[in-house]
């Protein structure tokens, strides 16, 4: 186990920069996710750490060792692929034993460590089977066992849960969390699924256009997005335009929001991000609540989504648990939206996408 640090990493293909000057550190035992839409460069970073791609510029260090130009087999890493990438011609046991054998392990100790790794992913007794005889979730667990068995200093995950169906994905997420807590291996996790990134990681790096936009604790990312991209990418935000006036953001038609923090100068154009799940829907007015009318209602089981048209014409989407009284609001009815000051995210307008 050791820390991982990237220094000014750049990856160019011809003239296109896929990764622009990425620098960050993962402390020993820390779990860091790179989150972003496809094509944002997150997988490229992971593959450079694994040694499957060579950075155009910059340095990669594992512990005190520079590994920037080392081949993958000299880096002591474990990589879990989206496609599982199990060896189809080997049994589960041989798959997991592969890395251990490369380290010169054999005989009884080898057997014990393979079985321990399989036990850890709750696949004890599956050793004699072939990958094709297992379900997708089981195959992914084998590939995790295979990656952790040789005790790598860095563990890398490349969208490991994306090929699984939704239900299995939730189960595997819990499994992963448990595994991470038991092993405490330095981990870099790449995903486009924000729930996955937020729930698993100690820190999340949100990427866009080859640049790490914000690298911080999940709570910070969620509540204090550094820029408009992060604010609009995380959660299900509503975006409103306004102007800073006397400690509030005026939206027009007499509507104003009073955020907890407001770092923008008086009179500047601002963009307000309100998360669907952070908005309370009321039937009666309350000080500070925004008035509007229901324009649309959509029932989706546990939640009801309401599209509310505000007095000045902008529309806001809100989520109401379907057990709530307000879930029965019909189009045309008047509603009031209350937002806690700390859930009002204000950023300067037009800075980012």
């Amino acid at each position: 186990m050791s820390n991982l640090s990237l220094r000014n990493i750049v990856k160019r293909y011809g003239r296109t920069e896929v990764v622009r000057n990425a620098s960050f550190q993962i402390a020993e035992g820390e779990f860091v996710s790179l989150l972003g839409p496809s094509g944002c460069g997150k997988t490229t970073i992971l593959r450079m750490v694994a040694g499957l791609l060579e950075p155009t510029e910059g340095q990669i260090m594992i512990g005190e060792r520079e590994v920037t130009r080392l081949p993958p087999n000299k880096r002591n890493i474990g990589l879990v692929f989206q496609s599982y990438a199990l060896f189809p011609h080997m049994t589960v046991f041989e798959n997991v034993a592969f890395g251990l054998r490369r380290k010169g392990e054999s005989g009884k100790p080898l057997e014990e460590r393979v079985n321990a790794a399989l036990e850890m992913v709750r696949l004890g007794g599956y050793g004699a089977r072939f990958p094709r005889q297992l379900s997708g979730g089981q195959q992914q667990r084998v590939s995790m066992a295979r990656a952790i068995a040789p005790r790598p200093s860095i563990l890398l995950f490349d969208e490991p849960l994306s090929n699984l169906d939704a239900k299995l994905r939730d189960e595997m997420q819990i499994e992963l969390k448990r595994l991470q807590q038991e092993l405490r291996i330095t981990t870099l996790f790449v995903t486009h699924d924000q729930a996955e990134a937020l729930s698993l990681s100690d820190r999340v790096g949100v990427m866009h256009g080859g640049v790490i936009q914000q690298l911080d604790r999940p709570e910070e990312i969620y509540h204090r997005p550094a820029n408009a991209f992060v604010a609009s990418f995380i959660g299900k935000p509503n975006r409103l335009q306004g102007r800073v006036e006397a400690g509030t953001v005026a939206l027009g038609a007499g509507l104003a929001l009073r955020p907890e923090r407001l770092d923008l100068p008086e009179g500047s154009a601002a963009e307000v991000f309100l998360r669907q799940e952070a908005i309370r829907v009321l039937r009666a007015p309350e000080p500070g609540a925004l008035a509007g009318t229901v324009a649309l209602r959509a029932f989706s089981g546990p939640q009801v989504q309401l599209v509310v048209r505000l007095a000045h014409g902008a529309e806001i989407v809100v989520e109401v648990p379907s057990a709530e009284d307000t879930a029965s609001l019909a189009p045309g009815e008047a509603v009031y939206l209350a937002i806690r000051p700390r859930d009002i995210i204000v950023l300067p307008q037009g800075a980012e996408p």
């Binding site: 694994a50 990438a85 011609h89 592969f98």
Partner: protein
């Protein structure tokens, strides 16, 4: 049920052609192979004998031809595999710019007539041929090497002719090897060489076996090239069968040889498909 019926309908045309042009003649040939042959008179009507088959195993000359044919098949297969694998690997894994020229280069010989290609080899390989003249002129040898009318000539000629089949099979197999699986092996501490031997090669086993069966079967049944490069005296089974039928008019003997050839082919295909399953761990 409809599914099954339409499946039968779909393969019916091919089945019919095979039945009429392959199975029926084969069945008609079977009795012939058990008939006695009197030189000068032809087949003895109503006779039955195992002699034609026994002779293949007991007669020294026949046995030599059979073993030579099998050795030739094995040799050409191994040579095609050893020379073809690197080419296929380069086509699949090399720079994409080289893919088309290399593939064309591999396929090109197939566009030339078999007789022309064999003649080409004669020009190169005879005692006063290009290769021998060159070697003598360079002072590397004093007397011409014997490159024709023996195993060397047949190995060279047939390897050249059947190499494309092997390469094309291997290209298909290599394209099916997922890069992630190789990358996984590398991250687990495998050097490039070890990745090749432990992952790439076993995963291309179906292509290796498929290509080998194809080349082997084509080689042991080849007629034109062995006849041209082997001459009238250096016989393989195919040329021997041809002579039995066309020169000696000994149909029973020719038929028996044909059946022996077909049977050994089937046995070899069966064994090798068993081997693939065991080796590649795939059912």
């Amino acid at each position: 049920m409809t599914g099954q019926r339409s499946a039968w309908l779909l393969i019916a045309p091919l089945l019919l052609v095979l039945l009429l042009s392959f199975v029926v003649p084969l069945v008609l040939l079977l009795p012939t192979s058990f008939q006695e042959y009197q030189p000068g008179q032809g087949m003895v009507a109503g006779s039955f004998t195992w002699e034609n088959y026994l002779r293949i195993a007991t007669d020294g000359y026949y046995r030599e031809v059979v073993l030579r044919t099998l050795a030739l098949g094995l040799g050409v297969t191994v040579l095609c595999l050893l020379t073809g694998y690197p080419v296929a690997y380069l086509i699949v894994r090399g720079h994409p710019r080289w893919r088309l020229p290399l593939t064309l280069l591999v396929i090109f010989p197939l566009m030339l007539n078999l007789v022309v290609r064999s003649f080409g080899w004669i020009v190169l390989l005879t005692n006063r041929g290009v290769v021998n003249n060159l070697l003598i002129d360079l002072g590397l040898i004093e007397r011409p090497l014997k490159l024709m009318f023996n195993m060397t000539g047949l190995l060279i000629g047939l390897t050249h002719i059947y190499l494309p089949f092997m390469v094309l099979m291997l290209v298909a197999a290599l394209q099916n090897v997922p890069r992630d699986v190789e990358a996984a092996a590398a991250t687990l501490g495998s050097s490039r060489t070890h990745v090749f031997w432990s992952v790439t090669l076993p995963l291309t086993a179906p292509g290796i076996i498929g290509g080998s069966i194809l080349v082997f079967v084509l080689t042991i049944s080849a007629l034109v090239t062995p006849r041209m490069l082997g001459g009238p005296t250096y016989q393989v089974m195919a040329t021997l069968i041809y002579d039995e039928y066309m020169q000696l008019l000994d149909w029973p003997s020719g038929s028996a040889l044909s059946f022996a050839l077909a049977a050994s082919t089937l046995v070899i295909i069966w064994i090798s498909s068993r081997m693939t399953k065991r080796w590649a761990g795939m059912a």
